[in-house]
């Protein structure tokens, strides 16, 4: 047992559901007790989804405990098949069903006989993998299923497209700025005259998965999700993949050079040369390179920062801060313990120390010890920063609704470098301003006497009513006090009791 208040990565089934519900017309059925369909709330609220989340539960209740699920799961699958006519139904085990050890594969086999949809069982072990690992695995499983199906049916066309083309693998729902990143990547590929063959899983149809091998190469922007699929496609179809995250000026250039290499391997006549494009973008389209030179930025030289997040974002941001901005990264870390080796290798030489943990108290202690000028982390680090009075830029999941902005905010590509520069710069200036305010004692040293409308003291609050007033949360207390006093004056009452407070609330009609 582990005493836990907060976790960075969710349980395995969340990863599976994120992948399944990212595809078009794929339905997931969770084998879970009542209340475990919390994923629907998250998707509906955080992503502000307009459509019903295609996830339902086959409820595990007392009867199921006593007799097993029996027909229930099969019935639920066939029912969903009739109601929604999805292309694919993914039966998703949860922590509860992994202990029950029912033969879910058997249900899947039975259900797939009667239903028109394809049915598969997500192959994830709740106690062994987390949300991100499960997502990676489920994506690979779905891709493998459809490619093997196509091969069996003889519909698999292995010829590649005439023009250079790419698949983008790993964009999915509830991912950190994934939608914006996807748009930016498409733009980047378009600039390079490369067609986007497929984007999976977000918005993709499982029927089109058999076209994946048509692309010249695969682009896997995030370390966490998509690598397994890319490796599978490489093994099966010899498709090369690029797993350099195009985040920051240097890495974006590196990613483009890799693309150039793979593309030139396949063309015979004319060779592509992207160097002029990289140069143009770096010096004039992205403002980040210029910004690093600008006088403003000198002030950040040698400032201490701490970075924490998922492997992709934490590693990339660390490199950007250290290499492109001259900021001293005192500590960088990730909660992706399963990918620790890769992470260490990536940030080697860019930071003073490395912290691999999924315990937020350890991260908090580290930040308190180092006292950086700014933190770049998840929502948890933002709250740690609030407590310690250190500004924080959010660079990675887990996140809140404000990290699903409506405006265009990619982290990848050349526009991404602008966004990151803003984020970093704003975090630090706010910090500086804060310190200056502290030194000079605040903006406005003239004392504010009162915020209430009148200052006459003809009203007395008795002891109980004062206590009651103090129970009211601070942000509305003033308003309630004013309303009560207004009510008292209107009714010629001078002594305010608890009853008067209630009466004031009742009488309030605005």
């Amino acid at each position: 047992m582990k005493l836990a208040y907060w976790m960075y990565a969710g349980p395995a089934h969340i990863g599976t559901l994120r992948v399944a519900s990212s595809f078009k017309n794929v339905h997931a059925i969770m084998h879970a007790p009542l209340g475990d369909d919390y994923f629907n709330v998250m998707r509906s609220m955080l992503e502000r989804e307009r459509d019903f989340t295609p996830v339902t539960a086959s409820i595990v209740d007392r009867h199921v405990l006593a007799r097993g699920s029996q027909e229930k799961v099969v019935d639920n699958i066939t029912r969903k098949d009739k109601e929604e006519r999805p292309d694919l139904i993914v039966l998703t085990p949860t922590c509860t069903s992994s202990i029950l050890q029912e033969d879910l594969q058997n249900f899947v086999d039975r259900a797939s006989i009667t239903s028109n949809s394809d049915v598969i069982l997500a192959d994830v072990n709740h106690y062994r993998v987390n949300e991100l690992q499960a997502a990676d695995r489920t994506l690979e499983q779905v891709v493998r299923y459809y490619l093997e199906k196509a091969r069996r049916q003889g519909t698999l066309d292995q010829s590649i497209t005439k023009e250079p083309s790419a698949n983008i693998i790993g964009i999915f729902t509830l991912g950190f700025h994934n939608q914006h990143d996807c748009r930016e990547l498409k733009r980047l590929l378009q600039d390079l005259n490369i067609k986007v063959n497929k984007v999976i899983p977000e918005g993709g149809s499982v029927k089109d998965l058999q076209d994946l091998p048509k692309a010249w190469f695969n682009l896997v922007p995030y370390r966490e999700v998509g690598l397994m699929t890319a490796i599978y496609l490489e093994k099966k179809f010899g498709m090369p993949y690029i797993s350099i995250t195009p985040m920051g000026i240097v890495d974006t250039a590196e990613c483009i050079r890799q693309i150039q290499k793979h593309v030139n391997n396949l063309v015979s006549d004319k060779k592509f040369n992207y160097e002029p494009y990289i140069d143009q973008q770096t010096r004039f389209v992205s403002q980040a390179a210029w910004f690093s030179r600008s006088i403003d930025r000198q002030n950040l030289t040698g400032k201490k920062a701490v970075v924490f997040g998922d492997a992709t974002h934490a590693a990339s941001i660390t490199r950007i801060l250290a290499r492109e901005m001259g900021i001293r990264v005192s500590c960088t870390g990730t909660y992706c313990k399963h990918d620790a080796e890769w992470f260490k290798e990536q940030v080697q030489g860019f930071c003073d120390e490395i912290l691999i943990t999924d315990d937020h108290t350890k991260v908090g202690d580290m930040i308190a010890r180092i006292e950086p000028s700014a933190i770049f982390g998840t929502q948890m680090e933002r709250h740690i920063g609030k407590r310690l009075d250190i500004p924080c830029g959010v660079i990675s999941s887990p996140v809140h609704i404000q990290n699903f902005p409506l405006g265009y905010r990619p982290f990848l590509g050349y526009e991404g470098t602008n966004q990151i520069a803003d984020l970093v710069y704003n975090s630090f200036t706010l910090g500086m301003e804060d310190h200056l305010l502290e030194i000079f004692g605040g903006h406005d040293t003239k004392e504010v006497i009162t915020k209430s409308l009148s200052t006459d003291t003809d009203l007395t609050w008795n002891y109980e009513s004062q206590l009651e007033l103090n129970k009211i949360p601070g942000f509305v207390r003033g308003k309630i006090k004013r309303n009560t006093e207004k009510f008292a004056r209107q009714n010629n009452i001078t002594d305010i009791t608890v009853e008067i407070m209630y009466a004031a609330k009742e009488a309030l009609s605005a």
């Binding site: 047992m1 582990k2 005493l3 836990a4 208040y5 907060w6 976790m7 969710g10 349980p11 089934h13 969340i14 007790p33 009542l34 209340g35 475990d36 369909d37 919390y38 629907n40 709330v41 509906s44 609220m45 502000r48 989804e49 307009r50 459509d51 019903f52 989340t53 339902t56 539960a57 409820i59 595990v60 209740d61 007392r62 405990l65 639920n76 109601e83 929604e84 006519r85 949860t94 922590c95 509860t96 202990i99 029950l100 709740h126 106690y127 062994r128 987390n130 948890m380 709250h383 609030k386 009651e468 129970k471 009211i472 608890v498 209630y502 609330k505 009742e506 009488a507 309030l508 009609s509």
Partner: protein
Amino acid sequence: MSNKISETLTFECETGNYHTFCPISCVAWLYQKIEDSFFLVVGTKTCGYFLQNALGVMIFAEPRYAMAELEEGDISAQLNDYEELKRLCLQIKKDRNPSVIIWIGTCTTEIIKMDLEGMAPKLENELGIPIVVARANGLDYAFTQGEDTVLAAMAHRCPEQILLGDRKRVIQNSNIQNFFSFLSLEKKEETTNKYFEKSKKNPPLVLFGSLPSTVASQLGSESKRQSIQVSGWLPAQRYTDLPSLGDQVYVCGVNPFLSRTATTLMRRRKCKLIGAPFPIGPDGTRAWIEKICSVFGIETEGLEKREEQIWENLKDYLDLVRGKSVFFMGDNLLEISLARFSIRCGMIVYEIGIPYLDKRYQAAELLFSQNTCKNMSISMPRIVEKPDNYNQIQRMRELQPDLAITGMAHANPLEARGINTKWSVEFTFAQIHGFTNARDVLELVTRPLRRNNNLENLGWSDLTKKEKNKN
């Protein structure tokens, strides 16, 4: 009485495929209510993830709850449950020093049959802190019923009340209880005596249900107006202040989802249950007080006028809701009372979905709802237990209600289809009890309607892409 009701009322029961919160969410409000408590949820990452996301910002305020996260070794019994729990509870004692630790059993502890009830007394002795066990799991319960399981478990911990000739309070309970109350025993006797002298009219009355302290004192002062003294609340602000119970004590519930607690109080603590409608809405509040008064043989004073006054103050909101239709999808068991209040406000209720309906505990509320319907001359709406959300959405497509009261999973998709929604969970967290808060209920109900008054003429209420090849 319950038979009579079920003759005239129609209850339907669907598949139970509906969305609701897991009952462990009760820690969110209970840890705030019971100030000296610590809630330990014994479960998996799934439970933790739910709490973390459902409670949003609160999680960062150093809450007095935590997960005892079960790992593979716990599931396969390679680790000793007792030793593991002891280790964690010792740490909690060291860090927070609570007056009580409440273990919340989950689906996983049920399935692996972890004997929490058996381990608690042993560990309690070793640790010197009371440990209360509540099985608030998703296998058996929905959302607010979590509070019911916690309060039912706490009812066992309330001190025994024996009314002697001199009305002296004697506390008989576990060692720990004595240990805690020794210091303040003298003072307590004094106060008990004092208020027995002040109002000799009614026997001890304990109200059960967790309410914010402001709302609790509002209901208290409402009863005081009728010269009824409330002698205690289950739960109290602190665990060490749990009310005394016994066969002389009358109890009355303030929330519709407390049927287990009611049963425990009657059967195990021999209390007398006052079955009343719930004090939600001015009509409910009046009926609630009237019922308590009638049990104690007290004539109510000015109650009718008070109710009228409240309705008078609600006029602007009533004009907004009158004639509007509402559909309760059902997820928190407040639905019957809220529907009854809506009907009294002049709304048309198409359907009352509800996770679970205890017809005996809610008998008075059901009867009151029926009478309300009769008075407003409409027929009683259908009550659907264990609803099926998919079917409900089909029904809603046909009925096109003006307002759907529903969980967050459906709210945005329904809004995108032009159906106004109110998030049901807000009713659980807002102050909705008593005369004083009637306005708050309508504030919630009318919010989407008022928002529409602003957006109405912009012409973009349906915001979905046309669905192809779907029904």
